[in-house]
């Protein structure tokens, strides 16, 4: 870095720099790398292991610097025109920023190398994969090497080699293998760039820690790293996931910024934290993101002047001294005059005091800490959704038209491009209502969902919920906020005992300038074009190996959901259905192509989603699944590109799974993930309704996809003891594991902000199932013995003999047949391990409600309690437990604004629904049997639940048929039902869901 720093300032503004460097790299590299060319593949395996070792990357880097410098200079002479061009596209921005970097220690070479690789990517397809694809390190490495261009490849090799020899000390092992190190360019709040070498497999946390270390920041929980996705949208880097999986095709360009704006900055412990917050706000204000009046502009600006320049000095501060600062989107002379006037009045104020004053005024601004997202209401009217510390704000133009405080929100979910919040019924309302918003695309929907989840957790909970790792199968996004909550960070910062770090407050000018010329924020934007190119590149070559494909498949997901990391987690396939997976793979291939990606993804998603759903349930049941089986299933999950991760998972998972299962037994809130997502969520209602009718209802739900819902129970701080530890949120991610799950997660996810008294609500899956059971129960809950047979059919090659009458053309049909046996009051009490949680869960609802009311009533009688949300022009869906299924269904139909290409048909058998309430039973046993034939995968879950002394057995059978031709649903269903009846004569079929996924067109994109 030293060299760079030195040289760059001059060159800084010149776009060419980067190209030069690249070139240099390339040229130098070939010679060195040539011998090592083959070395790469081997080292790969180790990388996984090394990934975690943070020190490794840094150490090696430091040493090599001298060489790097040499190279650079030498190389810089050669400027290939094409390189220049490239640079102009993507790297120009980052380069510039990165020039001023503060860290002199870092060797330029590495950066160069990395950059070179990445930049070359577009040109040399081989390389491109590396930076982007990210799905699997090892594999990618291998694949790449063969394919890579002569030029690019050497570079890589060089990297690996270089590090090893030069760094030597850190780890011969690691380095020797192939340390893939790349340089992240982090734009700091003062507008400078902080280049940071990271191992390519490093997680977000590593980079974030490095940045905080560089900044000498301890109260870091309010901050985060963001990057721009392919659509130029800001995404937050998930610290728990590998960076490369998140940034996907984007450059390793990040921005350090405030993620959670502390409502009361005076409670921050350190001045440096406040200073950084000030910098963020100054940026927000000058860019117009945080609107404020003339007076406020002047006042805040004057504090900035005081903080950075000190007392007004007539000698030093001439009339135009303010002009070099950038305070407001439109900075008038009048404002500057006012600023100067106010600046004079702050005489004697220390910088820290000025910052405090700045924050005290800024925090009052109505848009302080509000993260805005464009959306439309149900009528297509443009609105803005603002996520803030207190909840969700709805704006139309600049007017606030509604507000949903966190306590009012029961569930946050998204499906495709729709974002939903379920609202707690008001005092006078009987039913929960669901408000839906349409986001520009599903990525946006997921983004706001994530932001909501994070804000809720950070500001409202005392401790973050613990993601359930044991789940193999994940439906939907398992994303949860994993950092510390505000409560926790306050506790932690109270323990900070260090002499206040020195820091320079000189940034405003700089940042102002940079903002003027090239907005810091947008720096990363420029890279996007490149990124897209990268993606395209590989596809063109058509040489994507399977592995690559997988990685790609992930990447699409990432693009959509901006959550690459998730994929890994979710990816565990529970089902051994090889065929299905294959299909998934194919779809993933399609994704490869840049343009088509969206569509393909969707298709895949939907398909996956169905499978996932099944899996979820399976999971629940999966008690008895052997580890080996699990492993096998994992392995089979083709979509999962990263073996290493799997391995990790595998090791950890079995134990976890058991744990989960135990938890899972507690029947809490059941949300069945049976058919479509909506179905799941509303399953209760549906079931009930059907029950009411007493007759089987055939409901046709046209839904976009099967929904994978993630229900998360979060313990509310208030309800829980003050101690953070006490409350633990339960995750309800239904993981339906396959790699595809990732995609699913992108499609939709749910988050239940409810506080649960019980931290134990770990499993939603069981809950859901139970709920369904309850719903399905024809009579007293106790007596029911439901069997659910699910059939998912994916037609790929041949239709399954059994279910498929006709082959579908390239479309996947998934059918779920739920067979619920007549309730046999067998009273089987299998080893009833009645989990203690059960009660908790049941109590939860009431508890929650009580809690809420309490919260609202906080203000005592005099306080105004508004329970009725103003009517917004959003889509209101009223879902009532007692309403007829049809109604529920209807509402369901209305909800999705997106065109559905998936068809779900649900057949409900007559069911007695004694009580609208779902009475969760205790899960006694659950096991899953999977059988596979060529074209059909049948998964059967058998769950025994103890309810009220009676046990019910539920069999859920899922058949997935993949084929090219249309499947006759009726016939398939008939067949499935028939089989089910034959197999379980003493049981009744209560629910049949056929999910058909045909071609997908993506409206989102």
């Amino acid at each position: 870095m030293t060299t760079e720093v030195g040289s760059e300032p001059e060159v800084k503004k010149e776009p060419e720099k980067s190209p030069e460097e690249q070139e240099a790299e390339q040229q130098t590299n070939p010679s060195e790398s040539a011998p090592n060319g083959d070395a790469e593949p081997q080292p790969a395996p180790d990388n996984a292991e090394n990934a975690e070792a943070e020190p490794a990357p840094s150490d090696p880097l430091s040493t090599p610097s001298p060489d790097g410098q040499k190279k650079e200079k030498g190389i810089s002479r050669f400027l290939p025109p094409w390189l220049k061009r490239q640079k102009s596209n993507s790297q120009a921005e980052p380069r510039d920023g990165h020039a001023p970097t503060d860290t002199p220690t870092q060797p330029p070479t590495q950066e160069e190398l990395e950059d070179g690789q990445e930049e070359e990517g577009p040109k040399g397809e081989g390389t491109a994969v590396q930076p982007t694809g990210g799905a699997q390190e090892v594999q990618s490495g291998e694949e790449e090497s063969p394919v890579a261009n002569a030029e690019t490849q050497p570079v890589k090799q060089k990297e690996g080699e270089e590090w090893a020899p030069e760094s030597g000390v850190p780890s011969a092992l690691k380095l020797g293998k192939k340390m893939k190190i790349t340089v992240c360019h982090v734009t700091l709040l003062d507008g400078t760039q902080f280049p940071c070498e990271v191992e390519k497999r490093a997680k977000g946390q590593y980079l974030f820690s490095k940045v905080c270390e560089h900044l000498n920041l301890l109260e870091k929980d309010y901050f985060g790293l963001s990057f721009k996705d392919n659509t130029d949208q800001r995404c937050w880097l998930d610290p728990t996931k590998e960076i490369k999986h998140q940034i996907h095709n984007s450059q390793w360009q990040f921005a350090f910024s405030v993620k959670f704006y502390p409502p009361d900055p005076s409670q921050l412990t350190e001045d440096i934290t406040r200073y950084l917050l000030c910098l963020q706000l100054r940026q927000d204000i000058s860019l117009g993101r945080l609107p404020c009046s003339f007076v406020t502009h002047a006042l805040l600006g004057s504090y900035t002047l005081q903080a950075e320049l000190g007392d007004y000095d007539p000698d030093q501060h001439r009339s135009d001294y303010i002009a070099q600062f950038h305070f407001a989107p439109t900075q008038t002379k009048e404002l500057e005059v006012k600023l100067a006037e106010l600046h004079k009045s702050h005489k004697g104020m220390t910088p820290a005091q000025a910052d405090i004053q700045f924050l005290e005024n800024a925090k009052k601004l109505s848009m302080y800490g509000v993260d805005l997202h464009h959306a439309k209401d149900s009528e297509g009217v443009d609105i803005m959704l603002g996520v803030c510390a207190n909840g969700l704000l709805i704006y139309k133009d600049r007017l606030r038209i509604n507000r949903f405080a966190w306590p009012k929100i029961l569930k946050i979910s998204y499906k495709r491009c729709n974002f939903y919040i379920k609202i707690r019924p008001g005092e006078t309302e009987q039913f929960e209502s669901t408000v839906g918003f349409k986001l520009p695309n599903h990525r946006a929907a997921k983004r706001i969902w994530k932001v909501c989840v994070e804000h809720h957790t950070f500001f409202r909970l005392t401790s973050p919920e613990q993601p359930v790792k044991s789940k193999f199968l994940t439906l939907g996004s398992r994303f949860r906020y994993s950092g510390r909550t505000q409560a926790q960070t306050r506790q932690a910062s109270a323990l900070i005992h260090r002499s206040p770090p020195d820091f320079q407050r000189t940034s405003s000018k700089r940042s102002a300038r940079s903002l003027d010329g090239a907005p810091v924020v947008s720096v990363s934007d420029h890279t996007h074009p490149l990124v897209s190119t990268h993606a395209a590149g590989p596809g063109e070559n058509g040489r994507d190996s399977a592995l690559e494909l997988y990685s790609d498949s992930k990447s699409p997901q990432v693009e959509e959901g901006a959550e690459p990391g998730k994929g890994a987690a979710t990816a565990v396939p529970a089902e051994p259905a090889s065929e299905t997976w294959k299909a998934a793979d194919d779809s993933s291939e399609l994704k490869r192509e840049p343009r088509v990606q969206g569509e393909n993804i969707y298709v895949r998603h939907s398909k996956l989603m169905l499978e996932d759903l099944d899996k979820t349930q399976e999971e629940v049941l999966r008690h008895q699944a052997s580890v080996s089986e699990l492993k096998r299933s994992f392995m089979e999950a083709a979509p999962e590109p990263r073996p290493d991760q799997w391995d990790k998972r595998l090791t950890g998972s079995p134990a976890t799974s058991l744990h989960l299962q135990a938890h899972g037994k507690s029947p809490t809130r059941l949300e069945s993930a049976l058919s479509d997502s909506r179905d799941i969520s509303k399953s209760t209602e549906d079931d009930q309704s059907s029950g009411l009718n007493g007759q089987p209802e055939v409901i046709e739900v046209v839904e976009e996809t099967v929904v994978i819902e993630e229900v998360v129970r979060v313990a509310r701080p208030q309800s829980s003891a003050p101690e953070t530890a006490a409350t633990e949120p339960a995750l309800e991610g239904k993981d339906e594991g396959s790699a595809s799950s990732d995609s699913e997660s992108e499609e939709e996810a749910e988050y239940h902000p409810q506080l649960s008294g019980s931290a134990h609500l770990i499993r939603e899956d069981p809950e859901e199932e139970e709920q369904e059971v309850g719903l399905n129960q024809e009579a007293p809950p106790a007596a029911l013995k439901p069997c659910i047979i699910r059939e998912d059919v994916t037609d790929e090659a041949a239709a399954t003999a059994a279910n498929m009458a006709e082959p579908a053309d390239a479309q996947q049909q998934e059918g779920e047949v739920l067979v619920i046996p007549e309730k046999a009051p067998n009273g089987h009490t299998h080893d009833s391990e009645a989990p203690p949680t059960l009660f908790d869960e049941e109590e939860e609802p009431s508890f929650v409600n009580g809690d809420v009311s309490h919260v609202e009533g906080e203000h005592a009688p005099q306080v105004i309690c508004c329970s009725e949300p103003p009517v917004v022009k959003t889509e209101m869906v009223t879902i009532s437990d007692t309403f007829s299924a049809q109604k529920a269904e209807i509402t369901t139909k209305e909800v999705p604004i997106v065109h559905t290409e998936t068809k779900t048909i649900t057949y409900e058998a007559a069911q007695l629904d004694g009580s609208g309430d779902v009475e969760p039973g205790v899960l006694m046993t659950a096991h899953t049997i999977t059988s596979e034939s060529l074209c059909t995968t049948t998964t059967t879950h058998i769950t025994k639940t103890l309810k009220g002394g009676l046990s019910e057995t539920r069999i859920e059978k899922r058949i997935v048929i993949t084929g090219d031709s249309d499947i006759d649903h009726d016939q398939a269903l008939a067949q499935a039902i028939k089989e089910a009846k034959e197999q379980h004569p003493d049981m009744s079929v209560t629910r049949v869901v056929v999910h058909k996924e045909t071609d997908l067109a993506e409206e989102d994109e």
Binding site: F294, L299, R400, I864
Partner: protein, 278 residues
């Protein structure tokens, strides 16, 4: 909300001769007694002066019967004054005189030029932390937007006003963080809406009569909380509620005549703080 209710100036306007017969009214058909209206007005201004406010009384304009209700013509907050575009076309001329007065106070005057916007000051409730704008017969979304653009520091939330003339026909600020609210369904619904929309917590002072919920809160240096409210003669039950307020200087003000034409206590007044200018 520290400086909430701190004012230095009060702008009022004389009652024109056309007031009794020409003023717009919604429901009440009771005849206005012009003489009593004048007496009440006089007493009203006297109270303001008594409190130490500098009262600027604009001359009446016979062609504008409603011109006494200056509140509708301007929204003043801090150093900025927004001249409105009253929803009633017949009243739009009233703004001119107000513009002059506000400009003379060296406030930052913003005019509402959008032809599609309407806004009556009576629909604007400033709580000290945020604005609520009633969407009524007189005020539309566009008017509220312009208000939001004018006062960027504050959240501006819209509140549907289904019945009644203005938002402040049934509510007002009775103190920092204290909302006086009527008991009608309309008022209570609006209150719920406001509570829902707000990040801030307000106390409420519920009075039996909607019209009584309109009061004028002023915080004069050295005099503490001052509240102009309805008289026991006019609204006995509601007056009792106000009388329960502690640490307030309570000043019952008779408003028998104006109320006949939907004029509440706050309608005849625009308060400004010349010192608000930073």
């Amino acid at each position: 909300m520290a400086g909430f209710g701190n004012f230095t100036h009060a702008i009022v306007r004389a009652i024109p001769g056309s007031f009794a017969t020409g003023a717009l009214r919604t429901e009440n058909l009771e005849e206005v007694d012009p003489n009593r209206a004048l007496r009440e007005k006089k007493a009203y201004v006297a109270v303001l002066r008594e409190l130490g406010l500098e009262v600027l009384e604009l001359p009446a304009d016979e062609s504008m019967p409603d011109c006494v209700f200056v509140e509708d013509c301007a929204v003043v907050c801090g150093d900025t004054a927004l001249l409105t575009r009253p929803g009633a076309p017949s009243r739009r001329g009233e703004v001119e005189e107000m513009k002059t007065a506000l400009t003379n106070l060296s406030l930052n005057v913003v005019e509402m030029t959008d032809e599609t916007a309407t806004l009556d000051g009576g629909d604007v409730l400033f709580t000290g932390a945020e604005f609520f704008v009633g969407l009524s017969k007189r005020t539309n979304q566009r008017g509220a937007e312009i208000l939001a653009d004018t006062f960027k520091d504050y959240a501006v939330s819209t509140v549907p006003v289904s019945h009644g003339l203005h938002l402040k026909s049934f509510c007002s600020m009775a103190g920092p963080g204290l909302i006086a609210i009527g008991s009608s369904q309309t008022a209570q619904r609006a209150l719920k809406t406001m509570q829902q929309l707000s990040d801030h917590k307000y106390d409420k002072l519920t009075v039996p009569d909607d019209a009584a919920a309109n009061c004028v809160y002023i915080n004069m240096p050295g005099k503490g909380h001052i509240l102009l409210h309805v008289t026991p003669e006019q609204f006995p039950e509601s007056a009792k509620v106000f009388e329960k307020l502690k640490d307030y200087t309570l000043i019952p003000v008779s408003n028998l005549e104006n109320v006949k034409v939907d004029g509440a206590l706050s309608c005849c007044l625009v308060l400004a703080n010349k010192l608000a200018r930073v």
